[in-house]
Every structure is written in structure tokens, then in C-alpha cells.
Symmetry: C2
Subunit: 280 residues, 2 copies
């Protein structure tokens, strides 16, 4: 298949979060000819949303996603309301940035709860509550199914199938306001991945995140690999995405305490550009 289009490369700022501020990451992307960026809200708060939007625009970048909304479940109603309020602020920020989507990491079991079914209902209800605002703001919501190993603590939506069921229920018309973020790290193992990507289709494939699964993996969160260093067949999954109509970015998101977060970030961006061509 064809090499990946370099113009689709995007940097999720988590990849250099220990080294760079958001302003430095924006300028780094521009310097390296990386045309997309996906900021996290903690860094965004540091720079200011309007200032960030201007700096991104001035540097000719597009925002391939804002990380993140979600985290809906809470035992108390007040906690759930606070989460909704925070999601509305995230939608506003994403709109100001002109982000392609707001990524939703939906949240896991609140402390003390074993009621996975009930928590999943909270997630569905939470997304339902914010969907109108997202629609009117022109910010699609991208449910990111997280690897099942994060079910308890981070996200109780762990498969493409589940994420797409939520889309079908909450946005049956496939209007484009609700879809999925496909991160290879979370879904590469799924024997039905191809079918679910196809089922999602162009309208619901809102983001494509790449990295690699290392063997062995030594930390549950911060031991992701650079593309090519692990076992994920990235060109195969990209081909499924493209066959389903996806024409968006290839966003590189690597949490790596022991390797990439320790390197000089300009070196990291150089490696990303090469690996994108060689292994994606």
C-alpha cells in the first residue's frame, strides 16, 4: 500500500509532555513540518485557550483533537454534575481551537463501586447530556475505547463495539457529532477490529492515534512504544481505516517514562517523522 501521507502526521503533546510547554510543542511541530497537533487541557490551561488558538493558527497547524473530556461516573449526583460542567468547558475550548474533535476518556469505577453495568449507564447518560452542546458548538465527540486493562480506573468503554453501540444509541442519524477515536494501543488485539472500523465508517472515525505495544510492557500507563518498536501491524490497521473512508490525521501519542520522555524533544520529533514513513 501507499506510504502514509506526511501531511497527515500530528503530534499529541503527551508525547513530549515532560520536556515541552504547549508553546514549545507548537513551535516544534512547525519547525519539523508536522502539520497537526493535539493538546492536552492541562497544558492548554497554562498557555490560555485563546493564546493557544492564535499561536497554533499563526504556525499553520490544525488541531486534530483536544484531550480530553469524559470521566463521567461519580457516586454522588454532585460529582456527576461537576463532570458535565467540566465537559462543557472542554467543548468550548475545543471550539475555540477549531479542534477536529474532543476526545472522551469516559471514566472507570468510582472508588468503592463494583457496579460496572451501572457505571456504564452513567457514561451513556453523561455523553447524552453534553451531545447537544457539542453539536451546536461544531465539536464532534470522539469516544476513545481504552484497553480493557484500564476498565477499573480510567475508562469502562473498552471495545470499538461498545463505543459504536453508544454512538448508535445517542446519535442514530450518524450526523457526525459523535464518533470514535481509534488508538491502536487500545484496540490492536481486537479480533473484530476490522469489522468495527468498517462499521464505524467515515462519519464516525474521528481520530486515529498511533504508537506501538512493546514486548515486554513493564508499566500499565507509561511504557508505550514508538511506531516500529513493538508488535502492532500499523499499516494493516491504517489500511482498514482508509478503506472505511478515514481521511484524517495520524496522531502520535506515546507515554514513555523510561525512554521518549527522557530524550531531547527535537530528536523525538525527528524519529516520529521517520517512523511514520517507515512503520505506519
Amino acid at each position: 500500500m501507499a506510504l502514509p501521507d506526511p501531511a497527515r502526521l500530528s503530534l499529541n503533546t503527551a508525547t513530549v509532555k515532560k520536556q515541552w510547554t504547549l508553546a514549545q510543542a507548537i513551535e516544534g511541530c512547525a519547525r519539523h513540518g508536522i502539520r497537526g497537533i493535539a493538546p492536552w487541557r492541562d497544558k492548554l490551561a497554562g498557555l490560555g485557550v485563546k493564546e493557544a488558538a492564535k499561536l497554533i493558527r499563526d504556525n499553520g497547524l490544525k488541531v486534530t483533537g483536544l484531550c480530553r473530556g469524559g470521566m463521567f461516573p461519580a457516586v454522588e449526583r454532585r460529582g456527576r454534575q461537576a463532570a458535565l460542567d467540566d465537559n462543557l468547558r472542554a467543548i468550548d475550548a475545543a471550539a475555540t481551537l477549531g479542534a477536529r474533535c474532543l476526545v472522551l476518556v469516559v471514566g472507570g469505577l468510582p472508588a468503592g463501586s463494583k457496579d460496572l453495568g451501572g457505571v456504564r449507564e452513567m457514561v451513556r447518560d453523561g455523553i447524552g447530556e453534553i451531545l447537544d452542546r457539542a453539536r451546536s458548538a461544531g465539536v464532534p465527540l470522539a469516544i476513545e475505547p481504552l484497553h480493557p486493562m484500564y476498565c477499573a480506573e480510567r475508562a469502562c468503554v473498552n471495545t470499538m463495539a461498545h463505543a459504536l453501540e453508544l454512538c448508535d444509541e445517542l446519535d442514530p442519524g450518524k450526523g457526525g457529532a459523535l464518533g470514535v477515536a481509534v488508538d491502536v494501543y487500545h484496540v490492536w488485539w481486537d479480533p473484530d477490529l476490522r469489522r468495527h472500523i468498517e462499521r464505524a465508517g467515515d462519519k464516525r472515525l474521528l481520530a486515529f492515534h498511533v504508537c506501538d505495544w512493546l514486548v515486554p510492557t513493564t508499566d500499565f500507563i507509561n511504557d508505550r512504544g514508538m511506531m516500529g518498536d513493538g508488535v502492532i501491524d500499523l499499516p494493516l490497521i491504517r489500511s482498514w481505516m482508509e478503506h472505511a473512508g478515514y481521511r484524517g490525521s495520524h496522531e502520535v501519542e506515546i507515554f514513555s517514562a523510561k525512554n521518549w520522555w527522557k530524550r531531547e524533544p527535537d530528536e523525538v520529533l525527528g524519529v516520529i517523522k521517520r517512523r511514520h514513513q517507515e512503520y505506519c
Copy 2:
């Protein structure tokens, strides 16, 4: 719902593998009134299969499963043949023990491979190769879907759905020679778990393994929790198993380097008996 029947409790010897030999585990179960045991083959080799079978019988225990066969994939044909030969030996050992099933941990990606689809075909073919022997030996094969976090290194069958598809393909008559081992640690997160347990039904539900998922979990393999110490709703899953017709054992399998493997094993068995009643 009714409390779990104490007579269904079984000890997977991995739970005390650092402390006890197989002979000690057999005698420990008898001493504590635990009526089932599931040995691992490394310990079995130490005692001898016939000697183990006799000691288990003399102590009035039943063997709820033998761990483990599987590990089918290999790049070279010779490696795959060696795996098949080893599985045939495991079937013979399971028959000698009168084991309820041989648990299959099917294997992951061979070193250097990213061909997950191809490796899954090797697994299907491997199970197909040994099924006749298992059937004639009267040893049901229990495919154990492992948590997706083990996909690369241990088992590329990671969901009940996938395991049951293999059953449908290889044993369409549901003759009882092929089924699944349901280990809550591996499948608790699955939003379709109830449906798949129901679909499996009595004929294919060959084993039920219990432990708990700790929050946080700090090691990919050896940080399982004792029932009640984590977030899994064990009575709910047990109710699904029983509703589907399962009348087998509740086998306790806990890999725990920092806790249970460090305790006095008679204490561990006492805790297991109480927690089985309180939390399963």
C-alpha cells in the same frame, strides 16, 4: 442469591506455588476440607503423574482442571509440532488424573511476528489437531480467553466471543470435548460477558476461576487479588454461570508475588475458604 456451595471450592496450585509442593497442596486441601484441586504441570512433573493421581484420589479430591496445554504458535513447523506433541502429553496426564478439563493458554505472537491473524489461525489449527485425541481420552479442552493485555506474549484469544467461535468451528456438535475456562480476571470487563456465558451454556462452560482485580494493579502477571479485595462483582458473574447451567467448581487462582505467595499457606487456604463464602 444463595451462598456458594463450599463443596465447589477448588484450589489452583498456582495460588501457593511459592510455598508448597504438589503433595503439600493436596494434603493442605484435604486438611482444610477443600474438595477440588487444579495442578500445574511443572509441579506435576516433580511428583510424577501416577503418584499425583493416587495421592489426589487417596485424599478424596477431584481434579477440576490441569494447567496447562496450548502455546501453539511458532514460526517454524518444527516448533508447532513440538507444541502439539507437548499437548498430547498434557492430555495423557489429564486423563491419568481424571481431570475435568485441560486448560489451554493458546499462546501469543512468536518473537518477531506481527501477524496476529496468522497466529490466530495457528491456534485454531493446533486445537483442531489435538481435539480427537482429547475426545478419545475423555479430556475436554478448555480454551481460556486471557485478558487482552496478554495478547502479544501469552494468548491471542482474548474474549469469550473468540473462544466460542473456535468452539463452534471445531466442535459444531457441542459434544462436550471443547469449551471454555471462564476466569473472572480475564473477562470481567467484557460488556457482553453475560451473553457469551449464556451462549456457551452448560456443555461449554468447563471451568470457573475466581480471584479479584486490584486497584491499582502494579504488575502485569503477579498482582492478582484475593476475592473481595478488588472490583469484580463475583456473585453477579457466578449467577450468570449458574443461570447458564454451570454446576462445576469455583477454582481459586491467584498469582500474587507481593502478598499471598509470601504468606503461610495454611493461612492462605483459611482466607480462601472464608472469602469464597463472603465474596463469591
